[in-house]
């Protein structure tokens, strides 16, 4: 299955992109996406357990993904 990881702010700058298409075996979880991105050049900027949202809702690392899911990897937020 294929999912889309979204990157923002410092993460997007360091990895030089705002989205990544990732192909994973069925049953893959949020954690698998994070590990995939962390293994890319510059991916070390991500902490081992960053904030993540699946389809615009905050999600835990063990959430099982579905093809087409949008996984946002969220840097420390700084609104307000």
């Amino acid at each position: 299955m294929t999912v889309t990881a979204l990157l923002f702010a410092s993460y997007a700058d360091v990895l030089h992109r705002e989205s990544i298409e990732i192909t994973l075996p069925s049953g893959a979880t949020v954690r698998d996406v994070v590990e995939h991105v962390r293994a890319m050049p510059g991916g070390g900027i991500l902490p081992p357990s960053p904030l993540v949202a699946v389809n615009q809702e905050y999600a835990r690392a063990d959430v099982v993904l579905t093809s087409g899911d949008e996984i946002a990897i969220i840097p420390p937020v700084a609104g307000g």
Binding site: F8, E57, P75, V77, A78, G80
Partner: protein, 146 residues
Amino acid sequence: MRTAIVDDVIDVETLLSEVERDSNGASVIFIGTVRDQNNGRPVTGIEYACYGPMAARELASICTEASERFATVDIVVEHRVGHLFVGEASVVIAVAHARRASAYEASRYIIEQIKRRLPIWKREEYTDGTREWVDPTAVAVVGPES
């Protein structure tokens, strides 16, 4: 109740007029503004970036929670994104309630949840021309190192 992520100047008077009604005895306005320094570094402006669809949803969720906790529907919040200069408002929270205590508490709840959950990031621009993404979780270094 109304919430929005906007990319233009926030009109405080408009937000205030949206929450006022005769049954309310208190209106509280919180205005978050861009200040001219952070951790001792002079700041000239801030670029706010967001995960637009989620930020809109999350801001609405925060205000729905505040509405339920503090029993008022008279809540209007706008958060601005894009480039802001020092002194400009990045967020305005208007809350009205029959009683002042609940108006204050609802306003405080909303800004604290925004700080914690809203997927918005800011890149500060400094007088020396450099700019950096702000990480509120990083330990601030203030003053000379000892």
